[in-house]
Symmetry: C2
DNA sequence: TGACACGGTTTGAACGATCCATTGAACGAT
DNA sequence: ATCGTTCAATGGATCGTTCAAACCGTGTCA
């Protein structure tokens, strides 16, 4: 019969065990854990001693059942894209986990239907919510046309977005985002200060509002400093190959001395072109990227890049979550954070 | 037969609701969900219709309470290291989440005490387990001296390791790992086939058994092909700077025509040296890395690298988990997978 | 004819916590 | 001595599910 060993040596102590040991009722122990201010000092201490002696920990499942909440937030993770250098997600996830645990929440990962169409993921959200597997979501990809935000809003599902609600300026969900234009402005100003005057832009296609915002930071800074932008902008796909190609054309036709890119991926494409033409990144042609990915950190001679304050973003996201799930204090709908510039050899 | 998506505010239907609608008892509905083979065909169908009509989903918390299991596996994530190019964890995590959900499990992230000392993380594991927050763990860092595995083993905590139990060859926990020596053998063979004879090794300090294993793949292949290894090996820290320095020294003293590195990080260091000396990676000096990180994919001219089958690893880990938590079928203690070589411009 | 086995279904009792209404004691004011 | 108020602590009901045992009609065999 004892062939099957119990996984844990003994069954963990319950509220009732602690209550008996401390000579109080279950409810009092519960209060000692959740509302200590309700107890008299001496009883509180007695209960806490009993808790410590028995090594009591509340059973999550029982608590979840009774309170109808799981203290879990769901984070959908999308497929890993091969070419693009967006490994920065790591940083965000790590901070999110840490910040969440500080307010008693854990992060649950899940994937969608894997069909590529975000539409197909939506039932997955619903199931998690209705089965009380998670209390809320954190969504990270609110590009234009992504149905997630709208869908979750319709269903009154609690969630916080990393990314502005581009398609619906007065959406009612809380969000946190990074000011992209401020980032490219930093990069452009930096290059101008270094003496560059013909500074090119390589960004994404026009339907990306995120891309257009970053572009605006470059163009407004150029204008403000009295520099021309005509013929200096290119809009392509977010791949190394596109960046390589676009920079080649720009070098031939517009002779820029520096490139500001909408992503590290595109900037890597520029580095490819420079390497092919025997030009040195930095001394000959300056390049800046966006994201401060690991690639930017290790590629020779180091890629100057705009760094998003992902740790801060995570903290703000968790604040919004706490506000959403706990007692609402203020209702700050959106938070916009400012990035910084990490200068390396490429500029 | 349209799927009913109820708004969140209304309480979701319960087992009892379904039972009433189908004209059966609660337990019968429960069986329809968990042990359909126990029901007569017509009853099963009736119940399934009721489930579909109401859009019923079992309440996770209640199920967890009753079955004393959470259907969650805990995955500790460590701090993001800045310099090193090991963002490959993404790939593993993604596959793990996917493979887990296929067998009804979700992945819960958590961080340790953030003190840097892994010793301090251990209570965190214990708490999660005892509060029935997770059923098991997946640990990923079983380097020599890491107390996790031993500690979990002592406590009979169910877990699967990605990484061999280096310090205890007959540890009793299941593990999955990648054959590092086979990987460097692939790289070395590839270089030899390309005509290289003086092939240098840059790896980690001797106390890393993982590093020694990778080194063995290089040295045994060299020996097997009748090539000398004397003076061609260097053991340093896993940083870009160390790789840069070590490759400089080797180039001066041993004149290798190719480098096999224990990591992409070290290989990037070699690329730095080559760039500084005006040497082209590939035509002039060949370089191979290990991990097939995103850096390897985007750095010009592309870094040849050993790619770990992380997707397969995840699948095997989940298999082991299922075996551990469900009815044990076989008891395969360890699984060793073989990596592949991704050839790019650097070789 | 009675005992027994069987597949399919039902019933009551957990699982371990919190919510809610209530009790008991303490205390100052009448 | 009585009353009202407040503060601490209690006991029972409850969350939604699964477990264990009981039930019931039918068929089989001694």
């Amino acid at each position: 019969m004892s062939r099957i060993l119990s996984r844990l040596p003994v069954t963990p102590p319950t509220l009732a065990d602690v209550a008996e040991r401390a000579g109080v009722s279950r409810q009092t122990v519960s209060n000692a854990v959740n509302n200590p201010e309700l107890l008299r000092d001496d009883t509180l201490q007695r209960v806490q001693e009993a808790i410590a002696e028995l090594g009591y920990l509340p059973n999550r499942a029982a608590r979840n059942l009774r309170t109808r909440s799981s203290h879990l937030v769901g984070l959908p993770i999308k497929a890993v894209e091969e070419g693009t250098a967006n490994a920065q997600m790591d940083r965000f996830v790590h901070s999110l986990v840490e910040a969440s645990s500080a307010v008693g929440y854990h992060v649950l990962l899940f994937t969608g239907a894997q069909t590529g169409d975000p539409e197909d993921d939506l039932p997955g959200y619903d199931d998690l919510l209705r089965s009380t597997a998670v209390d809320a979501f954190v969504v990270t990809d609110t590009y234009l046309g992504n149905p997630q935000a709208d869908w979750l809003n319709d269903r009154r599902a609690p969630f916080v977005a990393f990314g502005r609600p581009w398609n619906d300026p007065d959406a009612r969900h809380p969000w946190v985002d990074v000011d992209g234009a401020a980032g490219t402005e930093l990069a452009t100003t930096h290059l101008i200060d270094k003496g560059h005057e013909r500074i090119a832009w390589i960004g994404w296609r026009k339907d990306s509002l995120l891309g257009e915002e970053r572009r605006a930071g470059w163009s407004r800074t150029m204008r403000a400093r009295g520099l021309s932008t005509t013929g200096l902008a290119s809009r392509v796909e977010d791949t190394v190959a596109s960046g390589r190609e676009a920079s080649g054309v720009l070098l031939d036709e517009a002779h820029p001395s520096a490139f500001v890119c909408a992503s590290d991926t595109l900037a890597m494409g520029v580095l490819h072109t420079l390497a092919e033409r025997g030009l040195r990144a930095g001394p000959d042609v300056a390049v800046t990227g966006f994201d401060d990915s690991q690639v930017a950190q290790v590629v020779p001679p180091g890629l100057t890049s705009v760094r998003q304050p992902l740790e801060e973003v995570a903290v703000e996201v968790v604040k919004a979550l706490a506000n959403l799930l706990g007692p609402p204090s203020g209702d700050t709908r959106g938070v916009l954070l400012t990035p910084t510039l990490v200068v390396r050899g490429s500029s």
